[in-house]
Symmetry: C2
Subunit: 142 residues, 2 copies
DNA sequence: GTAATTGCAAATACTTTGCCACGTA
DNA sequence: TACGTGGCAAAGTATTTGCAATTAC
């Protein structure tokens, strides 16, 4: 049974001209289920995808999805890039432990939208979005 | 003539037990002069450092400086890591063009401190800091 | 049938380390 | 003198691409 968020995301993929492949479905379900940004290696190695397809396929899929605004590539701090599902109307900031590397979404509302509007108005940048991350040592690591 | 910010930074390095080498000075001056985050490759290839020392040296220097809180390693979005000078009492957010990759510091005051305090209080994370980046297509690229 | 997608393997890019020589304190 | 630093070269990790085979539409 495919969750409705994923079903809607698949619709967006189809609308963008992408083909509905098994790999696409499993990738979207995996990202959705994890609820947090994941690396290429994590995704390609996850149960749903490990036997399903090659890492290069996951890489190219992520690339395509990112170019259509369906996933977003995040910087974070590791050497590897992280990818997260973009759901219209939702935004997340992250709290990352500098010790163990754990990543969790910040629950509080994001305080940056006002400034983002100002930047949009003052600089003429288009397609503006932001990334906000908090780094620190979590209680377990401290 | 070494700028006073750099001189103070060198003092902090000495206090942290680092030796005052030519490479250290040139690295700090370069970072200070550029006024924006730079990659290892940019630093190692810059006029002040190119003939001065090996890329591995710059790498280890940055590593040491980061571990003492004198520079900070930033995620941003490129494959390469970026490094920026940390000056006590100063904080920068960045505006990055997704087309040409240009990076500039945002002038407006950072709207995140309040939320950072809440997170500090509510989660028990230690040594908290944040990174805020805006991404968009600059007027030239659009 | 046709163009998008995939697998496998090879090529890149950037980072990180080993080891011994060197320079600062 | 002693230990932090530096150079050079090699290894490591993550990403990216070429090309022929496959699959969705």
């Amino acid at each position: 049974m495919i969750p409705s968020v994923v079903r809607q995301t698949i619709d967006r993929c189809r609308a963008a001209g992408l083909r509905r492949t098994k790999a696409l479905e499993e990738l979207l379900v995996t990202l959705h289920e994890s609820g947090r940004p994941m690396t290429l290696a994590e995704l390609a190695g996850s149960p749903r995808l490990a036997d399903q397809c090659d890492k290069a396929t996951v890489f190219r899929l992520l690339q395509r999805l990112a170019s259509h605004g369906i996933v977003r590539r995040l910087g974070l701090h590791e050497r590897a890039a992280y990818f997260t599902l973009l759901v219209p109307g939702k935004h997340s900031d992250y709290l990352i432990c500098t010790g163990c590397g754990s990543i969790e979404a910040v629950q509080a509302p994001c305080p940056v939208h006002q400034l983002e509007e100002e930047i949009r108005a003052n600089t003429g940048y288009r397609n503006l979005y932001h990334e906000l991350e908090f780094f620190g040592l979590c209680p377990q690591c401290a």
